[in-house]
């Protein structure tokens, strides 16, 4: 079920035999029906938590209950979750000295510029998209700002506005005129700004109220907004970094690896090496023609 990942798009050699697939389907179907029956039959008790949230909403400093839960009652969850995002950001950070191999002509391929955003007039841009973006991106940024601000009262908040900003960044990069280089210092700061503010707020607040992450009553609203705007910046930067890395990644060829570290792993037990489909099937497939 989990042999080496197979990329020969739709080559069916190492697919599971038909019988096991049918068996899996039947087992999963049976378990699913059992679970559905169990869920539908047991009536859903109304938990006491929503009433508690409503009751304590006034002390949380925001009116939107979801934002109150996210950034005040269960703010520890959000802190760890931004930690998850930072983990992925660090894992995908382009190597500082491999900038040269990022393909410059690909849209968004970062030339070895040191600052985060650099405008470049590469040939690959297409004018209609640029004209449309010239109007759209400012609108998205204003929309994200509004989304962040209303998050305290109406549906909205840090994650939605961060996603919007990331979307604007992706569009800018696709237009070919804007390039992001995430190895610059501003980029690193942008990635960690949210965790920095969250940790500083948590500790600062602990010195006054004695409990970590407990906001003093009158300062709750501004502190939540501060943490939320930092989270928006970080989420937008991290999601944009992941798109940038995926869209422009060209990897150092294996020869550059330090000789022994790589060779030692190459003689893997046979089950790991891929089923090497003959190369010509690759070239012939423009769109995947399914094995008849």
């Amino acid at each position: 079920m989990f042999q080496a990942p197979d990329f020969k798009n739709n080559s069916y050699e190492n697919e599971l035999p038909f019988a096991t697939r049918v068996l899996c389907a039947i087992v999963i179907g049976a378990l699913g029906f059992g679970l559905i029956a169990a869920l539908i039959l047991t009536e859903n008790i109304s938990s006491s938590l929503p009433a508690m949230v409503q009751q304590k909403l006034t002390q949380s400093g925001v009116q939107n209950p979801v934002t109150a839960v996210l950034l005040n009652f269960r703010s520890y969850d959000t802190l760890l979750e931004i930690g998850v995002l930072l983990t992925v950001a660090v894992a995908m950070l382009p190597n500082a000295n491999f900038n040269s191999d990022i393909n410059p002509d690909m849209p968004g391929g970062n030339r070895s510029s040191s600052h985060l955003v650099s405008v470049v007039n590469s040939a690959a841009g297409n004018p209609p998209l640029e004209a449309f973006l010239r109007w759209l991106i400012p609108m998205i940024i204003v929309m994200a700002g509004y989304m962040l601000w209303t998050g305290t009262a109406l549906p909205g908040g840090a994650f939605q506005s961060g996603a919007l900003l990331a979307g604007a960044g992706v569009l800018a990069q696709l237009s070919g005129r804007i390039q992001f280089c995430f190895t610059s210092t501003t980029a690193k700061l942008l990635l960690t700004i949210s965790l920095i503010t969250f940790v500083m707020v948590a500790i600062g607040v602990a010195t006054t109220t004695g409990v970590v992450l407990q906001y003093p009553l009158e300062l709750a609203a501004p502190l939540i907004l501060l943490v939320e705007s930092a989270a928006t910046l970080s989420i937008a930067a991290i999601l944009l970094l992941s798109y940038n890395t995926l869209a422009t990644q060209v990897f150092e060829s294996p020869s550059e690896h330090s000789t022994f570290e790589h060779s030692a792993f190459d003689n893997q037990p046979s089950d790991v090496t891929e089923t090497s489909a003959p190369n010509e099937t690759l070239q012939s497939q423009t769109a995947e023609d399914p094995k008849s």
């Binding site: 929503p50 949230v53 998850v84 995908m92 995926l246």
Partner: protein
Amino acid sequence: MTQDSLYIIASVGLFGIGLYGVIAAPHILRKILAINIMSVGVFMLLVTSAKNVNSTPDPVLHAMVLTGIVVAIAGTALALFLAGKIHALSEASDEDSH
């Protein structure tokens, strides 16, 4: 056949389809798609449980699903990154071989 039970069927159905997809899909991108479908299924169950509170829906569950969505895209981004790197190395070595 209330709305609650309808969406329960949908959520467990999505979870099952995703689980079958992870097991049976040969291509790595499909496995990642299947895992995303599974997580959407779980989120649907959470939101359905939040809905049938008579007054306003349960904000704790909504906060959990929001956190879950962001964690799901983080996992997907890392999986796609690894798949891309493996594909690049396997293409490079195929190209060296012939």
